[in-house]
Amino acid sequence: MSAQPHTHATPNRTQAATVEIRIRRRENTDAAQYWETFEIPYRPNLNIISCLMEIQKNPVTKDGKQTTPPVWNMNCLEQVCGICTMVINGRVRQSCSALVDQLDQPITLEPMSKFPNVRDLIVDRSQMFDHLKRVHAWIEIDGTHDQGPGPRMDQEDVAERYAYSRCMTCGCCLEACPQYDGDNYIGPQAIAQVRLFNMHPTGKMTRDERLEGIMGDDGITNCGNAQNCVRVCPMSIPLTKAIYEENRETIIHGLFGWLKR
């Protein structure tokens, strides 16, 4: 064993024996929001999900008031399903990979603000899936019967497509986008999916349908180039590159698309 210095999970900070968490709550879609503060015993390696689980077992506020358990969404807890996204200390991210040891206290948890708030930390992101329908985010295969392998592809192209294909529809990009507000702008995630499918040799054959999906009043031209999306994307997807490329494609399509008709 080399002479490594003693290292610990929290080398830089003396931990309090408790973790203080403020949660922006709401009883249901129509109710007003309010804050509640909770305190749980500190343990090393806590993430936000573990804190919420602890509160759920015994929902008592810091002041000792019995309350309803806060609700949230969770599933894979490996930052690959996207469901547990919320705003933590002002920044949108997945709560499974948000570690208490790396957060300033009191920790604030808020639901994403750009989607209908169902209750507490749960939001309804079905509009994102509707957008995927609008841009035809799929390959038009003839059928699922055996037709042998797909088209050959360069590993470099595959690598670029892979980056876009990692999008888990979590909504971080939309939450952080100053232009996005419900139905005025389709937003980065759908545009990046257009890029994903229009890069594919088979997908290219139906590229115009996808471009038209991002060319309406709420289309790609609403991007204000704030570049927040690419900063908050947990999968490091080159969203601004996709917007740049597809913007060019839509302009060309807008200018010359009528010739194909």
């Binding site: 490594q4 079905s126 329908k133 799929w138 055996d146």
Partner: protein, 673 residues
């Protein structure tokens, strides 16, 4: 509901992971309607967690790989407990499945020639695993999600995301006519008619408290089917991965490659030593794998590593007395680690916050996969007419142990077989009178009453603590190393928890989008399934694949080359056995210390050996083996040991009742204070 297609057929698919989406896609493509139920948006299903890849013998590397080799590896890896015909069919379909995903746009890694690239995985000597970066499951799931969305846009698929299946609707003849589901936001319950129902709800990892599974993997819906009469098979076969990262919320996988690159497993020699690892001198460290297995050291096979780490922790020799041991890479230069293990070290860093280049990782075996599940015939049909199952929630294909990268292919295969079988059933089923709404109203009322009872019920038990207790008992006694006395104690504990369940109170007065009521429903179902797993293990007095009993260390083909079948009775599971179809490959000793060819040769000497021919040639069934009927009524051998085993269970239950329901009296441990 989805618009009803030609012939008016509508099929309900429960679960939107790989298996469920594969089935939904096939049904919609055939022009029929699908109601697709999922507790989470389908794109967020557990299939996204699979990292490694998908197996299929495409032989792009010119290694002479064949579907027959894949079949043999699968059956051998499963310690011969799998029925062989469906495993063979899966391996034969696997290359076409991979090609289909390729056509659907999955960004599989490529060779220089632009062809699909393949990597090697455990349990085989061939490059047989297609992969898309380190997130193959995510990529495959998305491809199916996209195709199903296309059918959704076309009006063939109606999704019910955020709806949870509560129960089946069965008619007087035990034919499945639909299901009851609950909207998790409003808690509204509704009965849905269906001509057939396909279960594709994944594994039951949450029964063990923490596992590598996602939080939706409770096995709850499958347990509901079991409690309504569906047979559950091979429940005791639970795969435990040797190295996972213990978290407060779940266990996350740490790839085997960490040991492959020189990682050393150790614990402090002194019990309860809480010093920082770096300050523990070499002589005070116990490298137990290297000490016990000098030949293989830290690279002993997966099951052995799992057992040894588990035993060390059970003996309270884990770090600080906890369930964790060190997996140490700090003796390897950081730049070497970055080059070879960069991605997996980042995962550890992201979720633990420690840098494994400088601090030894803390790992522990984690419950990973259930080989067992709903009993199905070779067309994915359960014993309940009109109810089918596919994916991890069915028991077929993997036998006593699953090979890496076989899960993704088995899910898709299961969905692809279940879809036409469901359509076939729907076309032929008699609907006379079954459409009467009374049937549906009756089941709906029953489920609403169940909810009301839970909502009104009050008591001093906390459902989350009950879940933790169940998880701890199951993890301690029904995973890696199993002893009959401990299994009995565990079943008694489960009975105690079932008693205490009546005293839980729903601690949420706001029922809108509450997590409390659904969890309470899951908990009941998990407890029932936990008994199936525990009693299945108790009754199987041998060691096979993932099931290991030190008191019965050998595989016993004479008595236990059989599928365990559990059927629900009011008293709990009734266990019986069914013969395994080994008609294609004669069972031989599973021994990974030797090459497969050596053990194969040994077995080939025996009479009637039917080793698969090479290069995918058609396989001829041997004459002297009985073929399994496709008929749903099941083979005649099914009941052969039923009475005998029923008595064993009955005896256990009686004993406990006599002792006045006290676990302490029965010699068991209790967490009650």
């Amino acid at each position: 509901m989805a618009t009803v297609g030609k012939n008016g057929i509508k099929i309900a698919v429960v679960g939107g992971g790989l298996a469920g989406l594969a089935a939904a896609m096939k049904i919609a493509e055939a022009g029929h309607s699908v109601d697709l139920f999922s507790v989470v948006p389908v794109k967020r299903s557990h299939s996204v967690c699979a990292q490694g890849g998908i197996n299929g013998a495409v032989n792009t590397k010119g290694e002479g790989d064949s579907t027959a080799e894949h079949f043999d590896d699968t059956v051998y890896g499963g310690d011969f407990l799998a029925n062989q015909p469906p495993a063979k069919a899966m391996c034969e379909m696997a290359p076409a499945i991979i090609y289909l995903f390729d056509r659907m746009g999955v960004p599989f890694s490529r060779t220089k020639e632009g062809l699909l690239d393949f990597r090697r995985f455990g349990g085989t000597k061939h490059h047989r695993t297609a992969f898309a970066g380190a997130s193959t499951g995510q990529q495959l799931l998305y491809a199916l999600d996209e195709q199903v969305r296309r059918h959704e846009a076309g009006g063939k698929v109606q999704k019910y995301e955020g709806w949870e299946m509560m129960s089946l609707v069965l008619d007087d003849h035990q034919v499945c006519r639909g299901l009851v589901a609950m909207d998790l936001k409003t808690l509204e319950m509704k009965a849905f008619k269906a001509d057939a129902v396909i279960m594709a709800t994944g594994g039951p990892g949450l029964i063990f408290g923490k596992s590598t599974n996602s939080m939706v993997c409770t096995g709850s819906a499958v347990s509901a089917c079991y409690q309504q009469g569906a047979r559950y098979a091979n429940g005791e076969f639970i795969q435990v991965h040797p190295t996972s990262i213990p978290g407060e919320d779940k266990l996350r996988l740490m790839s085997e490659s960490a040991r492959g690159e020189g990682g050393r497993v150790w614990v402090p020699r002194a019990k309860g030593d809480t010093r920082a690892p770096a300050s523990i001198p070499e002589r005070e460290r116990w490298y137990f794998l290297e000490e016990k297995y000098p030949a293989y050291g830290n690279l002993v096979p997966r099951d052995i590593a799992t057992r040894e780490i588990f035993q060390v922790c059970l003996d309270k020799m884990g770090i600080g007395g906890d369930n964790q041991v060190y997996l140490d890479l700090t003796h390897i230069p950081a730049e070497t680690l970055d080059r070879k293990l960069g991605a997996i070290l980042e995962i550890y860093e992201m979720f633990v916050g420690d840098d494994p280049r400088h601090v030894p990782m803390r790992i522990f075996p984690g419950v990973h996969y259930s080989m067992g599940g709903l009993w199905v015939d070779f067309e994915q049909r359960t014993n309940i007419p009109g109810l089918l199952a596919a994916g991890e929630c069915d028991y077929s294909i993997h036998g006593a142990n699953r090979l890496g990268a076989n899960s993704l292919v088995s899910c898709v295969f299961g969905g692809f077989v279940a879809a036409p079988a469901a359509i076939e059933f729907a076309k032929n089923v008699e609907r006379n009178g079954a459409d009467s709404s009374a049937l549906y109203e009756q089941e709906l009322k029953l489920q609403e009453e169940n909810n009301q009872r839970l909502i009104k019920q009050s008591g001093n038990e906390n459902q989350y603590k009950l879940h933790e207790e169940m998880g701890k008992w199951m993890t301690d006694n029904v995973t890696v190393v199993r002893y009959n006395d401990k299994l009995k104690e565990t079943d008694n504990k489960l009975l105690e928890l079932i008693d205490r369940y009546d005293r839980i109170s729903i601690n949420d007065s706001n029922l809108w989008a509450t997590m409390a009521l659904p969890h309470a429903r899951h908990l009941w179902n998990m407890l029932q399934l936990a008994r199936v797993i525990t009693l299945g293990a108790l009754n199987r007095n041998e060691s096979r694949g993932a099931h290991y009993k030190p008191d019965f260390p050998d595989r016993d083909d004479e008595n236990f080359l059989k599928t365990t079948i559990a059927e629900y009775s009011g008293e709990g599971p009734v266990i019986s056995y069914e013969a395994v179809d080994s008609s294609l490959i004669k069972p031989r000793k599973r021994d990974y210390s030797k090459g497969k060819q050596d053990t194969a040769k040994a077995a080939a000497g025996a009479k009637g050996s039917t080793l698969p021919p090479k290069d995918g040639a058609p396989q001829v069934l041997s004459q002297d083996t009985e073929q399994k009927p496709k008929d749903l009524s099941g083979p005649a051998v099914w009941n052969q040991n039923k009475e005998e085993v029923r008595d064993v269970n009955h005896g256990e239950a009686e004993t406990r009742r006599e002792q006045g329901k006290s676990i302490e009296d029965a010699g068991g441990k209790s967490d009650k204070v």
